[in-house]
């Protein structure tokens, strides 16, 4: 299939769907290769970004069209769509904890925040930013929460790895939570944990010969 035709098809699909469409669905139903798909997306993005009225959003291997935020005021003046309010500090804090530590229970979030978080959880759920993703296998089987596609879209993230300082933050949290695991080391900010596979040469023989 010609790339221009594929672009037209994807544009039409995203326009009709309104909602996020999985890239995988488009590829499998139309028998499109990864390479073709990527090429088409790049082309569509070029035409639907910056000053264009319609923007392409890519997140979690899904595609969606949205209006250009720069023209939100004018669009609102004509069509009066429902406008979301910005989140409160408390909600953002809670959302950050859930985003970086998901899946997580409400109790675990409350332990970090030192404050009851029932209200902020309900606000975030109502906005479709978090959802129940399972139950923790402990007494009472508390619900585990995670963030949604709506969260990624609202914060202009293409995936969770896109969260600000994702790796670095997770590492620092791990050090704070489990200091005993890190006591032997002196950390610098840019210190990186060695891969598990890496065993110092001088230890290799010892480990291999020791009874397991």
């Amino acid at each position: 299939m010609k790339i221009e035709r594929l672009c037209a098809i994807i544009e039409a699909i995203l326009f009709l769907a309104g909602e996020p469409v999985k890239q995988g669905d488009i590829m499998s139903k139309l028998n499109i290769s990864d390479k073709q798909m990527k090429e088409a997306i790049d082309l569509i993005e070029k035409n639907h970004s910056g000053a264009s009225g319609i923007h392409l959003l890519k997140f979690n291997n899904k595609l969606q069209f949205s209006t250009n935020p720069d023209v939100a005021d004018e669009v609102s003046a004509v069509l009066n769509p429902i406008k979301e309010k910005e989140l409160s500090r408390a909600c953002l804090e809670t959302l950050a904890i859930i985003a970086y530590k998901q899946p997580i229970t409400r109790l675990e979030v409350e332990q970090i925040r030192g404050v009851n978080s029932e209200y902020t959880f309900s606000v975030l759920s109502q906005h479709g930013l978090i959802e129940v993703v399972g139950r923790k296998d402990v007494i009472g089987k508390p619900m585990l929460f995670g963030t949604t596609d709506e969260f990624l879209k609202r914060f202009e993230l293409s995936s969770l790895e896109d969260l600000p300082d994702y790796e670095k933050l997770l590492e620092r949290i791990s050090i704070i939570e489990n200091p005993q695991d890190h006591m032997l080391y002196k950390f610098d900010d840019d210190f990186e944990l060695p891969e598990e596979e890496e065993i110092p040469d001088f230890l290799k023989d010892e480990i291999e010969n020791s009874p397991s």
Binding site: F15, L16, A17, G18, E19, H55, L57, Q64, F65, S66, T67, P69, D70, A72, V75, P81, K83, E84, K85, E86, L87, R89, A90, L92, E93, T94, L95, A96, I97, A99, Y100, I112, R113, G114, V115, N116, K153, R154, F155, E156, L157, L163, P164, D165, L169, R172, I173, I176, E177, P179
Partner: protein, 250 residues
């Protein structure tokens, strides 16, 4: 920023309910004082925190409990630092409350910062289109069809039609030549001329069953009306019909 209620000597007093919990307040005090989190116990921040607790009456119970929890930890740490060190009382496994509070505060601080970074990325100015109503409609696709199925349907239909055609072939329903009323008139006509006649004479050879019944019904009707009288000599023999009144004349 929390509202400044009152300026007092070297620090500000903030309303407790401006803070999302005790850690929020503690962290705020640390930032105001521009010190490291781990130095909170060598600064006057804990005192400031405790002095804020005087406002507890004005906030709700749930929030108060959270503040008291942290406050009690702070008091515990303070008391311990004042007591002479007694090594035997230190339980190895239990984490030092001071360490724990510092860790908690550090972690909380990380997420607070992450939340602020998220805030900068938040975009509530995008609008999304409603899905087109046609979107979730399913496409009906025919299951694979076989020629055999088509021919089966066809031949069984032809069979059905053949049977129907057969059923439609009209069974001739021959209209009665005479109704009961007509037969009455007919018999009356005959009897007025012949005065007397045989019952069997009324029937012709091609009479249908219903015509015979109609004739007999007409006869009964004429008897009831006393137009005729009858006489039967033998059982199953002929019936002689006579016009009423004629008999006496004979």
């Amino acid at each position: 920023m929390p509202e400044i209620v009152e300026q007092k000597e070297e620090f500000f007093i903030y309303r407790l309910d401006d803070f999302e919990g005790p850690l929020d307040l503690l962290l705020h005090l640390v930032k105001e004082a521009k010190i490291e989190i781990k130095n909170i116990f060598v600064s006057n921040i804990t005192e400031q925190f405790l002095s804020h607790m005087e406002q507890l009456e004005t906030i709700d119970m749930e929030k108060a409990a959270e503040f008291v929890d942290v406050a009690s930890t702070l008091v515990e740490i303070k008391v311990k630092s004042l007591l002479p060190k007694m090594e035997e009382f230190i339980i190895e496994d239990e984490e030092d409350p001071k360490e724990r509070l510092i860790r908690q505060l550090e972690e909380y601080n990380l997420f607070k910062e992450a939340g602020e970074k998220l805030k900068q990325q938040e975009n509530v100015y995008r609008f999304y289109k409603q899905p087109d109503p046609k979107v979730s409609d399913s496409r009906v696709i025919l299951k694979s069809m076989s020629l055999g199925g088509l021919l089966d349907a066809f031949s069984s239909m032809m069979h059905k039609i053949a049977l129907q055609k057969q059923a439609i072939i009209p069974k001739t329903i021959i209209k009665d030549r005479f109704t009961v009323a007509e037969k009455i008139d007919q018999i009356k006509d005959i009897i007025s001329v012949k005065k007397t006649m045989s019952f069997f004479e009324l029937f012709e050879s091609d009479f249908t069953k219903s015509e015979m019944i109609n004739t007999f019904l007409a006869l009964l009707e004429l008897l009831r009306l006393r137009v005729i009288t009858c006489y039967q000599a033998t059982l199953f023999g002929d019936i002689i019909l006579t016009k009423t009144g004629e008999q006496d004349e004979n």
